[in-house]
Protein backbone atom coordinates (compact mmCIF):
# COMPACT_ATOMS: atom_id res chain seq x y z
CA UNK A 1 0.00 0.00 0.00
CA UNK A 2 1.50 3.28 -1.11
CA UNK A 3 -0.10 5.95 1.05
CA UNK A 4 1.48 8.89 -0.73
CA UNK A 5 0.07 7.68 -4.03
CA UNK A 6 -3.31 6.99 -2.42
CA UNK A 7 -3.44 10.53 -1.02
CA UNK A 8 -3.27 11.89 -4.57
CA UNK A 9 -6.62 10.22 -5.27
CA UNK A 10 -8.35 12.44 -2.71
CA UNK A 11 -8.84 16.04 -3.88
CA UNK A 12 -9.45 17.37 -0.35
CA UNK A 13 -6.16 15.91 0.91
CA UNK A 14 -4.26 18.14 -1.48
CA UNK A 15 -4.70 20.79 1.19
CA UNK A 16 -1.36 20.20 2.90
CA UNK A 17 -2.25 22.30 5.92
CA UNK A 18 -4.92 19.98 7.04
CA UNK A 19 -4.53 16.82 9.11
CA UNK A 20 -7.93 15.19 8.85
CA UNK A 21 -8.17 12.75 11.75
CA UNK A 22 -11.95 12.51 12.08
CA UNK A 23 -12.65 9.63 9.75
CA UNK A 24 -15.01 7.87 12.12
CA UNK A 25 -17.34 10.85 11.64
CA UNK A 26 -17.11 10.70 7.88
CA UNK A 27 -14.46 9.64 5.41
CA UNK A 28 -13.07 11.74 2.58
CA UNK A 29 -13.98 10.85 -1.01
CA UNK A 30 -11.62 9.75 -3.75
CA UNK A 31 -11.90 11.35 -7.19
CA UNK A 32 -13.30 8.05 -8.51
CA UNK A 33 -16.40 8.48 -6.33
CA UNK A 34 -16.83 12.18 -7.06
CA UNK A 35 -16.47 11.48 -10.79
CA UNK A 36 -18.97 8.64 -10.70
CA UNK A 37 -21.60 10.91 -9.16
CA UNK A 38 -20.79 13.68 -11.64
CA UNK A 39 -20.95 11.28 -14.53
CA UNK A 40 -24.28 9.97 -13.33
CA UNK A 41 -25.87 13.42 -13.27
CA UNK A 42 -24.31 14.44 -16.57
CA UNK A 43 -25.06 11.34 -18.62
CA UNK A 44 -27.15 8.77 -16.75
CA UNK A 45 -29.78 10.72 -14.84
CA UNK A 46 -32.92 8.66 -15.48
CA UNK A 47 -35.29 7.17 -12.96
CA UNK A 48 -34.97 3.51 -12.05
CA UNK A 49 -37.50 0.69 -12.25
CA UNK A 50 -40.21 2.62 -14.05
CA UNK A 51 -39.10 4.02 -17.40
CA UNK A 52 -39.32 1.97 -20.59
CA UNK A 53 -36.61 3.66 -22.65
CA UNK A 54 -33.14 2.23 -23.06
CA UNK A 55 -30.95 4.67 -21.08
CA UNK A 56 -33.28 4.37 -18.08
CA UNK A 57 -32.87 0.62 -18.22
CA UNK A 58 -29.10 1.13 -18.19
CA UNK A 59 -29.42 3.27 -15.09
CA UNK A 60 -31.59 0.61 -13.47
CA UNK A 61 -28.94 -1.98 -14.32
CA UNK A 62 -26.20 0.19 -12.84
CA UNK A 63 -28.29 0.66 -9.69
CA UNK A 64 -28.95 -3.06 -9.35
CA UNK A 65 -25.30 -3.91 -10.06
CA UNK A 66 -24.35 -1.94 -6.97
CA UNK A 67 -26.78 -4.06 -4.93
CA UNK A 68 -24.81 -7.12 -6.05
CA UNK A 69 -21.53 -5.33 -5.32
CA UNK A 70 -22.65 -4.56 -1.77
CA UNK A 71 -23.77 -8.18 -1.31
CA UNK A 72 -20.37 -9.40 -2.49
CA UNK A 73 -18.59 -6.89 -0.24
CA UNK A 74 -20.11 -8.48 2.87
CA UNK A 75 -20.41 -12.01 1.41
CA UNK A 76 -24.19 -12.04 1.50
CA UNK A 77 -25.95 -14.96 -0.19
CA UNK A 78 -27.78 -12.81 -2.68
CA UNK A 79 -28.30 -9.24 -3.84
CA UNK A 80 -31.89 -9.45 -2.57
CA UNK A 81 -30.53 -9.36 0.99
CA UNK A 82 -29.53 -5.73 0.46
CA UNK A 83 -31.89 -2.78 1.02
CA UNK A 84 -30.72 0.73 0.28
CA UNK A 85 -31.48 3.27 3.03
CA UNK A 86 -30.28 6.72 4.06
CA UNK A 87 -27.68 5.29 6.40
CA UNK A 88 -27.01 3.27 9.50
CA UNK A 89 -29.41 5.28 11.63
CA UNK A 90 -32.32 4.76 9.27
CA UNK A 91 -31.48 1.07 8.83
CA UNK A 92 -31.42 0.42 12.58
CA UNK A 93 -34.61 2.39 13.13
CA UNK A 94 -36.32 0.32 10.44
CA UNK A 95 -35.37 -2.89 12.22
CA UNK A 96 -36.54 -1.53 15.56
CA UNK A 97 -39.81 -0.01 14.34
CA UNK A 98 -40.80 -2.44 11.62
CA UNK A 99 -39.50 -5.68 13.06
CA UNK A 100 -38.82 -5.47 16.79
CA UNK A 101 -41.90 -3.41 17.66
CA UNK A 102 -44.06 -6.31 16.40
CA UNK A 103 -41.97 -9.17 17.76
CA UNK A 104 -40.78 -8.03 21.19
CA UNK A 105 -43.38 -8.41 23.92
CA UNK A 106 -43.93 -7.67 27.57
CA UNK A 107 -41.28 -9.35 29.72
CA UNK A 108 -38.95 -10.00 26.79
CA UNK A 109 -35.40 -8.71 26.86
CA UNK A 110 -33.24 -6.75 24.44
CA UNK A 111 -29.50 -6.96 24.95
CA UNK A 112 -27.12 -4.27 23.72
CA UNK A 113 -23.61 -3.35 24.84
CA UNK A 114 -22.51 -0.29 26.77
CA UNK A 115 -20.37 0.64 23.75
CA UNK A 116 -23.33 1.42 21.49
CA UNK A 117 -23.66 4.57 19.43
CA UNK A 118 -26.97 6.31 20.18
CA UNK A 119 -28.24 5.09 16.80
CA UNK A 120 -28.00 1.50 18.02
CA UNK A 121 -29.39 2.32 21.43
CA UNK A 122 -32.29 4.77 21.34
CA UNK A 123 -34.38 2.76 18.85
CA UNK A 124 -34.12 -0.22 21.21
CA UNK A 125 -34.87 1.91 24.23
CA UNK A 126 -38.07 3.00 22.53
CA UNK A 127 -39.11 -0.56 21.68
CA UNK A 128 -38.40 -1.66 25.24
CA UNK A 129 -40.41 1.21 26.72
CA UNK A 130 -43.33 0.82 24.34
CA UNK A 131 -43.64 -2.94 24.71
CA UNK A 132 -42.72 -3.40 28.35
CA UNK A 133 -39.48 -5.20 27.55
CA UNK A 134 -36.22 -4.88 29.43
CA UNK A 135 -33.07 -3.34 27.95
CA UNK A 136 -29.86 -4.90 29.23
CA UNK A 137 -26.28 -3.81 28.70
CA UNK A 138 -23.22 -5.99 28.19
CA UNK A 139 -20.48 -4.18 30.14
CA UNK A 140 -16.84 -3.74 29.18
CA UNK A 141 -13.73 -4.83 31.06
CA UNK A 142 -11.13 -2.38 32.34
CA UNK A 143 -9.25 -2.48 29.03
CA UNK A 144 -12.38 -1.56 27.09
CA UNK A 145 -13.02 -5.02 25.64
CA UNK A 146 -16.48 -6.53 25.86
CA UNK A 147 -17.09 -8.62 28.99
CA UNK A 148 -17.88 -12.01 27.44
CA UNK A 149 -18.61 -13.72 30.74
CA UNK A 150 -21.24 -11.11 31.47
CA UNK A 151 -22.61 -11.50 27.95
CA UNK A 152 -23.07 -15.24 28.51
CA UNK A 153 -25.17 -14.53 31.58
CA UNK A 154 -27.15 -11.68 30.04
CA UNK A 155 -28.21 -13.45 26.86
CA UNK A 156 -30.89 -15.98 27.82
CA UNK A 157 -34.04 -17.54 26.48
CA UNK A 158 -35.82 -14.31 27.43
CA UNK A 159 -33.66 -12.37 24.97
CA UNK A 160 -35.49 -11.52 21.76
CA UNK A 161 -32.93 -9.15 20.23
CA UNK A 162 -29.19 -8.82 20.59
CA UNK A 163 -27.95 -5.58 19.01
CA UNK A 164 -24.23 -5.00 18.96
CA UNK A 165 -21.79 -2.71 17.25
CA UNK A 166 -19.00 -4.56 15.44
CA UNK A 167 -16.46 -1.80 16.06
CA UNK A 168 -16.80 0.76 18.86
CA UNK A 169 -16.68 4.31 17.51
CA UNK A 170 -15.05 5.51 20.75
CA UNK A 171 -12.68 2.75 21.87
CA UNK A 172 -11.86 1.32 18.48
CA UNK A 173 -12.36 -2.17 19.84
CA UNK A 174 -13.58 -4.92 17.55
CA UNK A 175 -16.34 -6.72 19.41
CA UNK A 176 -16.45 -10.55 19.31
CA UNK A 177 -19.31 -10.56 16.81
CA UNK A 178 -19.01 -14.27 16.02
CA UNK A 179 -19.27 -15.41 19.63
CA UNK A 180 -22.11 -13.02 20.46
CA UNK A 181 -23.92 -14.10 17.30
CA UNK A 182 -23.73 -17.72 18.41
CA UNK A 183 -25.01 -16.83 21.88
CA UNK A 184 -27.91 -14.91 20.37
CA UNK A 185 -28.94 -17.69 18.04
CA UNK A 186 -28.51 -20.46 20.62
CA UNK A 187 -31.03 -18.55 22.71
CA UNK A 188 -33.41 -17.96 19.82
CA UNK A 189 -32.78 -14.22 19.63
CA UNK A 190 -32.47 -12.13 16.48
CA UNK A 191 -29.01 -10.70 15.98
CA UNK A 192 -28.58 -7.11 14.78
CA UNK A 193 -25.10 -5.80 13.98
CA UNK A 194 -24.21 -2.12 13.68
CA UNK A 195 -21.41 -2.15 11.12
CA UNK A 196 -21.12 1.64 10.68
CA UNK A 197 -17.48 1.62 11.80
CA UNK A 198 -16.74 -1.93 10.72
CA UNK A 199 -17.69 -1.67 7.05
CA UNK A 200 -15.00 0.94 6.32
CA UNK A 201 -12.31 -0.67 8.43
CA UNK A 202 -12.40 -4.49 8.54
CA UNK A 203 -13.34 -7.25 6.10
CA UNK A 204 -16.95 -8.20 6.82
CA UNK A 205 -18.20 -11.69 6.13
CA UNK A 206 -21.79 -12.30 7.21
CA UNK A 207 -21.23 -16.03 6.65
CA UNK A 208 -18.94 -15.98 9.67
CA UNK A 209 -21.09 -14.18 12.22
CA UNK A 210 -24.58 -14.65 10.78
CA UNK A 211 -26.39 -11.44 11.61
CA UNK A 212 -30.12 -11.44 10.93
CA UNK A 213 -29.84 -7.73 10.23
CA UNK A 214 -26.82 -5.52 9.69
CA UNK A 215 -26.55 -1.77 9.04
CA UNK A 216 -23.88 0.53 7.63
CA UNK A 217 -23.43 3.94 6.01
CA UNK A 218 -21.90 4.88 2.67
CA UNK A 219 -20.33 8.13 3.85
CA UNK A 220 -17.97 6.46 6.31
CA UNK A 221 -16.57 4.18 3.59
CA UNK A 222 -15.64 6.74 0.91
CA UNK A 223 -19.18 6.97 -0.45
CA UNK A 224 -21.56 9.92 -0.48
CA UNK A 225 -23.80 10.97 2.39
CA UNK A 226 -27.46 9.99 2.38
CA UNK A 227 -26.90 6.41 1.28
CA UNK A 228 -26.66 3.38 3.49
CA UNK A 229 -27.46 -0.28 3.68
CA UNK A 230 -29.72 -2.57 5.60
CA UNK A 231 -28.69 -6.18 5.16
CA UNK A 232 -31.20 -8.81 6.20
CA UNK A 233 -31.51 -12.52 5.64
CA UNK A 234 -34.60 -13.43 3.62
CA UNK A 235 -35.95 -15.14 6.74
CA UNK A 236 -35.59 -11.91 8.74
CA UNK A 237 -36.81 -9.55 6.02
CA UNK A 238 -39.97 -11.65 5.52
CA UNK A 239 -40.92 -10.84 9.11
CA UNK A 240 -40.41 -7.10 8.69
CA UNK A 241 -43.38 -4.87 7.93
CA UNK A 242 -43.14 -2.37 5.09
CA UNK A 243 -41.93 0.95 6.46
CA UNK A 244 -43.35 3.03 3.60
CA UNK A 245 -45.84 2.57 0.81
CA UNK A 246 -45.98 4.33 -2.54
CA UNK A 247 -44.36 4.26 -5.93
CA UNK A 248 -41.73 1.78 -7.07
CA UNK A 249 -42.61 -0.85 -4.46
CA UNK A 250 -45.86 -2.24 -5.88
CA UNK A 251 -46.85 -4.88 -8.40
CA UNK A 252 -50.57 -4.10 -8.87
CA UNK A 253 -52.85 -1.47 -7.43
CA UNK A 254 -56.65 -1.38 -7.63
CA UNK A 255 -59.02 1.06 -5.96
CA UNK A 256 -59.25 -1.21 -2.95
CA UNK A 257 -56.01 -3.14 -2.68
CA UNK A 258 -52.43 -3.53 -3.78
CA UNK A 259 -49.78 -6.21 -4.10
CA UNK A 260 -46.13 -5.51 -3.50
CA UNK A 261 -42.92 -6.32 -5.31
CA UNK A 262 -40.70 -9.00 -3.83
CA UNK A 263 -37.98 -8.34 -1.25
CA UNK A 264 -35.92 -6.09 -1.35
CA UNK A 265 -37.77 -3.74 -3.73
CA UNK A 266 -40.87 -3.63 -1.53
CA UNK A 267 -38.71 -1.92 1.12
CA UNK A 268 -37.60 0.86 -1.22
CA UNK A 269 -40.70 2.97 -1.78
CA UNK A 270 -40.34 6.11 -3.87
CA UNK A 271 -37.49 7.26 -6.07
CA UNK A 272 -34.34 6.15 -4.31
CA UNK A 273 -31.02 7.96 -3.91
CA UNK A 274 -29.74 6.75 -7.27
CA UNK A 275 -26.66 8.98 -7.35
CA UNK A 276 -25.86 7.83 -3.82
CA UNK A 277 -26.05 4.20 -4.86
CA UNK A 278 -23.82 4.83 -7.89
CA UNK A 279 -21.32 6.65 -5.64
CA UNK A 280 -21.38 3.82 -3.10
CA UNK A 281 -20.62 1.37 -5.90
CA UNK A 282 -17.56 3.39 -6.89
CA UNK A 283 -16.47 3.57 -3.24
CA UNK A 284 -16.65 -0.21 -2.90
CA UNK A 285 -14.62 -0.59 -6.11
CA UNK A 286 -11.96 1.65 -4.60
CA UNK A 287 -11.91 -0.21 -1.27
CA UNK A 288 -11.72 -3.57 -3.04
CA UNK A 289 -8.84 -2.36 -5.14
CA UNK A 290 -6.84 -1.60 -2.00
CA UNK A 291 -8.17 -4.58 -0.09
CA UNK A 292 -9.96 -4.54 3.25
CA UNK A 293 -7.26 -6.75 4.83
CA UNK A 294 -4.64 -4.16 3.92
CA UNK A 295 -6.79 -1.32 5.18
CA UNK A 296 -7.42 -3.06 8.50
CA UNK A 297 -3.75 -3.82 9.05
CA UNK A 298 -2.55 -0.36 8.07
CA UNK A 299 -5.03 1.52 10.28
CA UNK A 300 -4.38 -0.74 13.26
CA UNK A 301 -0.61 -0.26 12.99
CA UNK A 302 -0.85 3.48 12.55
CA UNK A 303 -3.21 3.72 15.54
CA UNK A 304 -0.79 1.62 17.58
CA UNK A 305 1.96 4.08 16.75
CA UNK A 306 -0.21 7.03 17.74
CA UNK A 307 -1.45 5.43 20.96
CA UNK A 308 2.07 4.35 21.99
CA UNK A 309 3.43 7.85 21.46
CA UNK A 310 0.53 9.42 23.34
CA UNK A 311 0.88 6.95 26.21
CA UNK A 312 4.53 7.95 26.68
CA UNK A 313 3.21 11.30 27.82
CA UNK A 314 2.16 11.00 31.45
CA UNK A 315 -0.42 13.78 31.07
CA UNK A 316 -2.33 11.78 28.49
CA UNK A 317 -4.96 9.13 29.19
CA UNK A 318 -5.58 6.78 26.25
CA UNK A 319 -8.84 4.82 26.43
CA UNK A 320 -9.20 1.25 25.26
CA UNK A 321 -6.81 -1.68 25.02
CA UNK A 322 -3.00 -1.41 24.86
CA UNK A 323 -3.03 -3.40 21.60
CA UNK A 324 -5.05 -1.30 19.22
CA UNK A 325 -7.66 -3.05 17.12
CA UNK A 326 -8.68 -0.37 14.61
CA UNK A 327 -7.82 3.18 13.60
CA UNK A 328 -9.77 4.85 16.41
CA UNK A 329 -7.88 6.32 19.39
CA UNK A 330 -9.77 8.22 22.10
CA UNK A 331 -7.80 10.11 24.70
CA UNK A 332 -7.75 13.01 27.12
CA UNK A 333 -5.16 15.36 28.49
CA UNK A 334 -5.31 15.48 32.26
CA UNK A 335 -6.79 18.69 33.58
CA UNK A 336 -7.82 19.94 30.16
CA UNK A 337 -11.32 19.74 28.73
CA UNK A 338 -11.53 17.98 25.37
CA UNK A 339 -13.15 21.01 23.75
CA UNK A 340 -10.34 23.36 24.60
CA UNK A 341 -7.88 20.79 23.32
CA UNK A 342 -9.87 20.40 20.10
CA UNK A 343 -9.92 24.17 19.57
CA UNK A 344 -6.15 24.29 20.08
CA UNK A 345 -5.79 21.58 17.41
CA UNK A 346 -8.35 23.28 15.16
CA UNK A 347 -6.22 26.43 15.09
CA UNK A 348 -3.38 24.25 13.81
CA UNK A 349 -5.63 22.65 11.19
CA UNK A 350 -5.64 19.30 12.96
CA UNK A 351 -9.17 18.01 12.93
CA UNK A 352 -10.25 15.56 15.61
CA UNK A 353 -13.56 15.06 17.30
CA UNK A 354 -14.24 16.09 20.88
CA UNK A 355 -17.26 15.21 22.95
CA UNK A 356 -19.20 12.10 23.76
CA UNK A 357 -19.24 10.85 20.15
CA UNK A 358 -22.95 9.98 20.29
CA UNK A 359 -22.12 7.31 22.86
CA UNK A 360 -22.89 9.06 26.13
CA UNK A 361 -23.39 5.97 28.29
CA UNK A 362 -19.97 4.66 27.24
CA UNK A 363 -18.16 7.96 27.77
CA UNK A 364 -19.69 8.24 31.25
CA UNK A 365 -18.66 4.67 31.91
CA UNK A 366 -15.08 5.74 31.10
CA UNK A 367 -15.43 8.25 33.92
CA UNK A 368 -15.46 11.43 31.85
CA UNK A 369 -17.85 13.75 30.03
CA UNK A 370 -15.91 14.12 26.84
CA UNK A 371 -12.87 12.71 25.08
CA UNK A 372 -10.75 13.64 22.12
CA UNK A 373 -10.89 11.13 19.33
CA UNK A 374 -8.44 10.71 16.50
CA UNK A 375 -9.78 8.28 13.94
CA UNK A 376 -7.30 7.25 11.28
CA UNK A 377 -7.97 5.92 7.84
CA UNK A 378 -5.73 4.37 5.23
CA UNK A 379 -4.81 7.73 3.70
CA UNK A 380 -3.49 9.11 6.97
CA UNK A 381 0.24 8.93 7.60
CA UNK A 382 2.78 9.11 10.40
CA UNK A 383 3.47 12.72 9.65
CA UNK A 384 -0.11 13.59 10.59
CA UNK A 385 0.15 11.52 13.78
CA UNK A 386 3.40 13.29 14.65
CA UNK A 387 1.74 16.67 14.16
CA UNK A 388 -0.98 15.63 16.58
CA UNK A 389 1.52 14.32 19.13
CA UNK A 390 3.66 17.44 19.06
CA UNK A 391 0.58 19.67 19.29
CA UNK A 392 -0.51 17.76 22.37
CA UNK A 393 2.86 18.57 23.95
CA UNK A 394 2.58 22.24 22.98
CA UNK A 395 -0.90 22.33 24.37
CA UNK A 396 0.25 21.00 27.74
CA UNK A 397 2.88 23.70 27.85
CA UNK A 398 0.34 26.32 26.97
CA UNK A 399 -2.51 25.36 29.26
CA UNK A 400 -0.92 23.51 32.11
CA UNK A 401 2.46 25.15 32.67
CA UNK A 402 1.77 28.76 31.80
CA UNK A 403 2.96 30.15 28.50
Amino acid sequence: MNVERIRKDFPILQNRWMAYLDNAATSQKPRLVIDAINHFYQYQNFNVHRSVYTPAQQTTDAYENVRQKVADFIHADRAQDIIFTRGTTESLNMVASDFAMQHVHHGDEIVVSITEHHSNLLPWMRVAKANGAKLKYIPILDDGCLDLDAAKKLITSKTKIVALTAVSNVLGTINPIEIIGKLAHQNGAMYVVDAAQAAPSIPLDVQKFHPDFMAFSGHKMLGPTGIGVLYGTQHALKQMQLPELGGEMIEDVSTTDFSTKPIPWCFEAGTPNIAGVIGLGAAIDYLNQIGMDQIEKYCRNLAQYLADQLRKDKHVIVYGPKRRQSGIVSFNIRGLHAHDAATFLDLQHIYVRAGHHCAEPLVHCLGTEATLRASLYFYNNRNECDRLISSVKKMEMFFCHGH
Binding site: H337, H339, D340, D346, L347, A354, G355, A370, F398, H403
Partner: protein
Protein backbone atom coordinates in the same frame (compact mmCIF):
# COMPACT_ATOMS: atom_id res chain seq x y z
CA UNK B 1 -6.32 33.18 14.77
CA UNK B 2 -3.67 33.02 17.44
CA UNK B 3 -4.33 30.73 20.36
CA UNK B 4 -3.34 33.50 22.78
CA UNK B 5 -6.02 35.87 21.60
CA UNK B 6 -8.58 33.21 22.43
CA UNK B 7 -7.11 31.91 25.66
CA UNK B 8 -5.92 35.15 27.25
CA UNK B 9 -4.56 35.11 30.79
CA UNK B 10 -7.65 36.76 32.11
CA UNK B 11 -9.75 33.92 30.67
CA UNK B 12 -7.48 31.20 32.02
CA UNK B 13 -7.53 32.94 35.40
CA UNK B 14 -11.28 33.19 35.55
CA UNK B 15 -11.59 29.53 34.57
CA UNK B 16 -9.13 28.22 37.12
CA UNK B 17 -10.16 30.45 40.03
CA UNK B 18 -13.93 30.37 40.17
CA UNK B 19 -15.62 32.47 42.82
CA UNK B 20 -19.23 32.20 43.99
CA UNK B 21 -18.60 28.62 45.11
CA UNK B 22 -20.37 28.96 48.44
CA UNK B 23 -23.72 27.18 48.48
CA UNK B 24 -26.64 29.45 49.26
CA UNK B 25 -28.96 28.91 52.14
CA UNK B 26 -32.48 30.13 52.68
CA UNK B 27 -35.85 29.45 51.21
CA UNK B 28 -35.91 31.76 48.24
CA UNK B 29 -33.23 30.06 46.22
CA UNK B 30 -33.92 29.72 42.53
CA UNK B 31 -32.11 26.98 40.63
CA UNK B 32 -31.41 26.24 37.03
CA UNK B 33 -29.47 23.54 35.18
CA UNK B 34 -28.33 24.22 31.65
CA UNK B 35 -26.19 22.03 29.45
CA UNK B 36 -24.63 21.81 26.03
CA UNK B 37 -25.64 18.42 24.73
CA UNK B 38 -22.85 18.29 22.16
CA UNK B 39 -20.06 19.07 24.65
CA UNK B 40 -21.42 17.57 27.82
CA UNK B 41 -20.97 20.91 29.60
CA UNK B 42 -23.28 21.12 32.60
CA UNK B 43 -23.88 24.24 34.64
CA UNK B 44 -25.96 24.65 37.78
CA UNK B 45 -26.74 28.19 38.87
CA UNK B 46 -28.46 29.07 42.15
CA UNK B 47 -29.54 32.61 42.90
CA UNK B 48 -31.50 34.67 45.37
CA UNK B 49 -33.42 37.51 43.77
CA UNK B 50 -35.12 39.85 46.17
CA UNK B 51 -35.51 43.56 46.81
CA UNK B 52 -35.33 43.99 43.03
CA UNK B 53 -31.85 42.66 42.67
CA UNK B 54 -29.85 39.47 42.50
CA UNK B 55 -28.55 39.35 46.04
CA UNK B 56 -26.56 36.13 45.88
CA UNK B 57 -25.32 33.68 43.28
CA UNK B 58 -23.68 30.28 43.37
CA UNK B 59 -22.63 28.09 40.49
CA UNK B 60 -21.18 24.68 39.82
CA UNK B 61 -19.80 23.90 36.40
CA UNK B 62 -18.40 20.94 34.57
CA UNK B 63 -17.07 22.17 31.31
CA UNK B 64 -14.39 23.70 29.16
CA UNK B 65 -12.24 26.76 29.89
CA UNK B 66 -14.45 29.02 27.79
CA UNK B 67 -17.64 28.06 29.59
CA UNK B 68 -15.99 28.18 33.02
CA UNK B 69 -14.44 31.59 32.43
CA UNK B 70 -17.64 32.96 30.97
CA UNK B 71 -19.58 31.70 34.00
CA UNK B 72 -17.30 33.34 36.54
CA UNK B 73 -17.34 36.60 34.57
CA UNK B 74 -21.11 36.49 34.24
CA UNK B 75 -21.52 35.97 37.99
CA UNK B 76 -19.32 38.96 38.73
CA UNK B 77 -21.30 41.13 36.36
CA UNK B 78 -24.83 40.20 37.36
CA UNK B 79 -24.61 40.17 41.13
CA UNK B 80 -26.41 43.08 42.85
CA UNK B 81 -28.15 44.01 39.61
CA UNK B 82 -31.81 44.15 38.71
CA UNK B 83 -33.49 41.90 36.16
CA UNK B 84 -33.62 44.79 33.74
CA UNK B 85 -29.89 45.44 34.05
CA UNK B 86 -29.10 41.73 33.81
CA UNK B 87 -31.26 41.36 30.71
CA UNK B 88 -29.29 44.19 29.15
CA UNK B 89 -26.01 42.42 30.01
CA UNK B 90 -27.29 39.16 28.53
CA UNK B 91 -28.29 40.92 25.35
CA UNK B 92 -24.98 42.79 25.16
CA UNK B 93 -22.98 39.61 25.68
CA UNK B 94 -24.91 37.80 22.98
CA UNK B 95 -24.21 40.71 20.65
CA UNK B 96 -20.54 40.37 21.49
CA UNK B 97 -20.78 36.76 20.39
CA UNK B 98 -22.46 37.60 17.10
CA UNK B 99 -20.16 40.53 16.39
CA UNK B 100 -22.91 43.12 16.59
CA UNK B 101 -22.46 46.58 17.97
CA UNK B 102 -23.89 47.65 21.32
CA UNK B 103 -23.71 50.69 23.58
CA UNK B 104 -21.37 51.05 26.59
CA UNK B 105 -19.08 48.14 25.79
CA UNK B 106 -17.25 48.63 29.07
CA UNK B 107 -20.15 47.36 31.08
CA UNK B 108 -19.11 43.81 30.10
CA UNK B 109 -15.79 44.25 31.92
CA UNK B 110 -13.63 41.11 31.82
CA UNK B 111 -16.17 39.37 29.64
CA UNK B 112 -15.06 41.56 26.74
CA UNK B 113 -11.97 39.35 26.61
CA UNK B 114 -14.19 36.59 25.20
CA UNK B 115 -14.78 38.55 22.01
CA UNK B 116 -12.46 36.25 20.01
CA UNK B 117 -14.92 33.43 20.59
CA UNK B 118 -17.15 35.13 18.02
CA UNK B 119 -14.64 34.02 15.39
CA UNK B 120 -15.06 30.37 16.40
CA UNK B 121 -18.73 29.62 15.79
CA UNK B 122 -18.45 26.12 17.30
CA UNK B 123 -17.45 27.57 20.65
CA UNK B 124 -20.05 30.34 20.93
CA UNK B 125 -22.43 28.05 22.73
CA UNK B 126 -19.77 27.38 25.39
CA UNK B 127 -19.45 31.10 26.13
CA UNK B 128 -23.22 31.64 25.96
CA UNK B 129 -24.11 28.82 28.38
CA UNK B 130 -24.03 30.84 31.65
CA UNK B 131 -25.84 33.76 30.05
CA UNK B 132 -28.57 31.47 28.88
CA UNK B 133 -28.62 30.02 32.39
CA UNK B 134 -28.98 33.32 34.26
CA UNK B 135 -31.68 34.45 31.85
CA UNK B 136 -33.67 31.27 32.43
CA UNK B 137 -33.16 31.43 36.17
CA UNK B 138 -34.54 34.94 36.48
CA UNK B 139 -37.32 34.72 33.97
CA UNK B 140 -38.68 31.49 35.21
CA UNK B 141 -39.08 33.09 38.65
CA UNK B 142 -40.68 36.26 37.33
CA UNK B 143 -43.09 33.99 35.59
CA UNK B 144 -43.90 32.28 38.90
CA UNK B 145 -44.45 35.57 40.68
CA UNK B 146 -47.02 36.70 38.12
Amino acid sequence: MDIRSLYQDIILDNASHPQFQKRLSGTRIQKVLVNNPTCGDRLVINGIYQHHKLEAIYFHINGCIISKASTNMMAHLVIHHSIKQIDDLVLSFSKLMTNEDFANKDKLGDALSLSSVAKLPVRIKCAMLPWKGIYQLLHREVHHEN
